[in-house]
Amino acid sequence: MGQALTFDPVSLPEEAEALRGDVRRFVAETLGNEHRRNSDFGASHDPDFSRALGARGWIGMTWPSRYGGGERSFFERYVVTEELLAAGAPVGAHWIADRQSGPLLLRYGTEEQREFFLPRIVRGECFFSIGMSEPDSGSDLASVRTTATRVDGGWVVNGTKLWSSGAHRNHYMITLVRTEPQGENRHAGLSQLIVDLRDSEGLTVRPIANLAGDAEFNEVVFEDCFVPENRLVGEPGNGWAQVTSELGYERSGPERFLSAFRVFVELVREIGPEPTEHQAAVLGRFAAHMMTLRKMSISVAGMLQSNRNPVVEAALVKELGNNFERELPEIARLVAPASASALFRRTLEDTILHAPSFTIRGGTREILRGMIARGLGLR
């Protein structure tokens, strides 16, 4: 049988399960019983909540203690993350820093960068945005045209980044730039710079309203924007490898199938204790999908824990998970009782309005399927 796409049986160890109750109590105490939207990590910005989480040691959980990290396992991080998402907690402010910017700096950053940024991230005081896409570079990321030219003491950046969530209120953005003109190898000559979003000259951040009316993502324009030498991440020219490893962290987590979870919860509330056979089957189908996705996602956490690089497996979990979270509200609306409450309607409508982004952000469905096809040896 094929070996390319196997998901080893992995279950969460005791010490990870033990965190679950702590997180539930923390969320109940911190947020009370107010209505929760889905924990959309692009939209739920709450710096106070992030700082409180940091104080509990639940940001940078797997990082070394010398940078303030908790030296916990990926499984422990998994439990905290999924509990927060399921509860609809506002995790958006610190999300990118915790999930990918911090791990990127740990792997490729200078000692000075680690000592400066990581403890701040861990305390829930330092938030990051992603600076990858551009007006003419979406799925074809290697075609980015934003340039960084070497000058005395650093780099001068020119160009435009797009869809950078939270750039209007976060502190930093890790920005993919071309440091050498594009040659034969289009993956060569790319680098990553940490741009200070709050204190850089020649930088303009313009929020772009999305179809739900939120202003979450942004256009970030660089006009001769100076970035000091010590803000280069890794080696100049190594940007493609770095960005690829960053995307690996981005793709397999529980946020890839829990984006519509609150609709599931509210649908169960509306249907009540005595479902029709059809309603019961719909709810059971959601459960069967979610429980299977969760096992696959935990299996990927196990691969990360063993220092493997599960790029294709992560793409597969994201692809299956995104399809599930897009399908969920579409089916929920058809089986909800006609008498459904305003609360249910609001949760459903909010999810329907955000659902188009689920299969685009972090790699479109089509790009992910292409990666899986490559994993199968088809290309």
Partner: protein
């Protein structure tokens, strides 16, 4: 998986690769019982893999033994290994002498009427069960039903005493409706199972989920190989994005079916598998339908011929997803449990962390 299981698995893989050929499966579908292959399975101890040593079995943990069925699914084995393996485990655990030979299990699903009552030392059975897999080839039929609510009994009967209406399932495997009216089974030919009928049925359903997971991997392998070999417009069809995208979806369904079935086996080994078996049968059953559709689309007209071996797998996928409860039945069971627990316990139910 323990070391014995690994050795058995390797030997079984070699045996099936060599002997469970296209010709053998075709002949079985034409009505010939593949006796030599059955004898080889017996020599390898597979039908008794989960039966106790005292009964002549290998005494593998039930979850490990059921895991071997992935191979049966991948090779489209046209023999009642799943049901024989389970029935021997149940009979052996209950202390009844094992009847030997291929076994069929007649366990009533919704719409079936088989029931039992005790009369002195004997058990008296009446009613029918439809679509009993491999009953026409079975040496003994194991009837499973309840005598009192919550307590299953297992009774042995010869097919001649029971067979009503023989037919074939979608895969061309022999099946039959089984029935009797006040059939008395003497002591020594029946036993209490030591659990409810639902537990036995769940294990049968799990066996089908595992078979599906094996066949899904096989149709994925067949489809990727075919896409790389078959040339149209001057290049392999694997070069077309439309084909690549479909195969990526098939890979996702295969991986989900495998993870769901494995998850239920892990839960069975740990002791509480009720929810996980429902998840496995529901998810694998859904994967079977989508996966078979894509595999056929990729194979084009070639895969629609009787000559190609793809249909040995896809027709079994279509049969297995219905056996012992189709997707909706197991989904509804999960759904009712979710509704009973209520919205604020949903997450705890899904994560087993109440």
């Amino acid at each position: 998986m323990n070391e014995t299981t690994r050795m058995v698995e390797e030997a079984a893989e070699r045996l099936l690769r060599e002997h469970c050929t296209k010709e053998l499966v075709d002949a079985a579908e034409a009505g010939t019982f593949p006796e030599a292959l059955w004898r080889q399975l017996e020599e390898m101890g597979l039908p008794l893999a989960a039966a106790p040593e005292a009964a002549g079995g290998t005494a593998l943990p039930l979850a490990d033994a059921l895991g071997l069925l992935r191979l049966a699914g991948a090779h489209a084995l046209p023999l009642p290994l799943a049901d024989s393996l389970l029935a021997n485990a149940w009979l052996g655990a209950a202390g009844l002498p094992l009847p030997g030979g291929p076994l069929a299990v007649a366990l009533p699903g919704s719409g079936d009427t088989l029931r039992a009552e005790r009369q002195g030392d004997a058990l008296v059975l009446s009613g029918t069960v439809r679509g009993v897999s491999f009953a026409p080839w079975a040496r003994t039929v194991v009837l499973a039903c309840e005598s009192t609510p919550g307590e299953a009994v297992l009774a042995l009967a010869a097919p001649e005493e029971l067979l009503l209406d023989a037919g074939r399932n979608l895969a061309g495997e022999p099946t039959a409706a089984v029935g009797c009216t006040r059939l008395a089974i003497d002591a020594g030919r029946w036993t209490a199972a030591g659990c409810g009928l639902g537990t036995l049925r769940a294990q049968l359903a799990l066996s089908r989920a595992v078979l599906i997971s094996g066949a899904m991997q096989s149709i994925l392998d067949l489809s990727t190989s075919y896409a790389l070999e078959r040339r149209q417009f001057g290049r392999p069809i694997a070069a077309f994005q439309a084909v690549q995208q479909q195969l990526a979806v098939l890979a996702g369904e295969a991986a989900a079916a495998l993870r769901a079935a494995d998850g239920a086996l892990e839960a069975l080994a740990a002791g509480d598998a009720d929810d996980e078996i429902a998840v496995a049968k529901a998810r694998a059953g859904e994967a079977a339908g989508r996966g078979a559709e894509i595999a056929h689309q990729v194979h084009g007209a070639m895969g629609f011929t009787h000559e190609h071996r793809l249909h040995h797998r896809t027709r079994r996928l279509w049969a297995w997803r219905d056996e012992h409860g189709h997707e909706a039945e197991w989904q509804a069971r999960l759904g009712r449990r979710i509704c009973a627990a209520g919205p604020d316990a949903l997450w705890a139910v899904l994560t087993h962390s109440a």
